[in-house]
Amino acid sequence: MDNFEPKIVAFTCNWCSYAGADKAGMMKLKYSDDVKLIRVMCSGRIDPQFVMDAFREGADGVMILGCHPGDCHYRTGNVKALKRYKLLRKTLVQFGINDKRLKLDWVAAGEAELFQQVVNEMAETVKELGPLHLTGNVEQGGK
């Protein structure tokens, strides 16, 4: 398990968390390369289907990063993201997926260190959990 390199997809919102990641880059802060960023305009744009798709396509963990409550560029997109995240987590557990594999956090544009910290923590958590290995229809197929 020591050489397991988890695949983590992080959806980051354009206005806060992606800018935070950008700043981390400019400050040359090192963060885990297991985490792959996907920029979306708002965390409220993250359809739960994106998260399901990421897991299905082999992600071992998924992150949703948005603006702090009250700071959403579109006013309430991040609150919608929070509600979807809560529902999604409860649902994923029923599929045998540990809820630690899905993480939501708020990172503002200036919080480069916080970005580095949450991303590295997630990489560490997923590394400890090991590979996801979805089974069922996805892997076996019926044919």
């Binding site: 299905r56 509600k83 809560k86 649902t91 019926g142």
Partner: protein, 325 residues
Amino acid sequence: MAKPKVAFYWCASCGGCEEAVVDLAEKILDVVAAVDIILWPVALDFKYKGIKAMEDGSIAVSFINGAIRTEEQKEMAKLLRKKSGLVVAFGSCSSLGGIPALANLTSKKKIFDRSYLNSPTVVNPDGVVPKTRSIVDGYELTLPEFFETVYKLDDVIDVDYYLPGCPPTPELIANAVNAILEAKLPPKGAILSPDKSLCKSCDRNESKPEDVAIAEIKRVIDIELDPEKCFLAQGIICMGPATRDGCGASCINGNMPCTGCFGPTDSCKDQGAKMIGTLGAILEGEEEEAIDKVIEGLVDPAGTFYRYGLSASMLGSARKEAKDE
């Protein structure tokens, strides 16, 4: 001219789809007059041997209902596929997995343990569970294999059309049969029901407030249901927003919320994820604690969002060796 041959077959199903065919009422006489039913195990006596002896492709259309749970069902589906020009997945179970696919949230072992060993009404001191092969008094007895996962029909064979519903309505069945008889079928792979969400044709849509704002999720037994108001506005989970139209809102008309049996529309890949997306926009609460409290009311999200569609969901089934738990 010889009448087109038609087969009806059932896999892991309750028989409700067969009932739906009978519900065609006097229209079924037109169907019977126009076609030759060569296989219908629930209603008429035929031998599988006879089907095996038929020429490949000689059955015009096979309507197969039920999910694929056992080796026998898979074998019959494959046989009918070989012998048929068209295969129609009939009903929610064969289209999406249906109620039997809820078993995908557990495992074969847990099901067997419960059904044959641990259920309080079971007396089984020798711990006998079904096996594909067993010897009793020197005789070999065989049973079809019970799969770990419940599949939808197109997981095991190529399917031409889908008739959704638990069960499909007589109107949809009649339309499908007519389309086949008149050769006016849509492109292969089509779902033979309108591609829009149930809300679009729901009579209660107008009663829906601009901001639905569910402050508390309730079950149908918790409150006296308003016969005219949008269910979501009453705090009842209604799958209408994430469900395909075509049922004639029969549950809504019976003052019951939609449970999602028609599956998602073409633009949606995962019915449950879609419903989570919808609810995320209409649940009340800003702070985490308030949101947690609302969500607490939803006891079984997977069973609610994927009641008929687990095999068709993106995740398909729970992890079998759920080490994460």
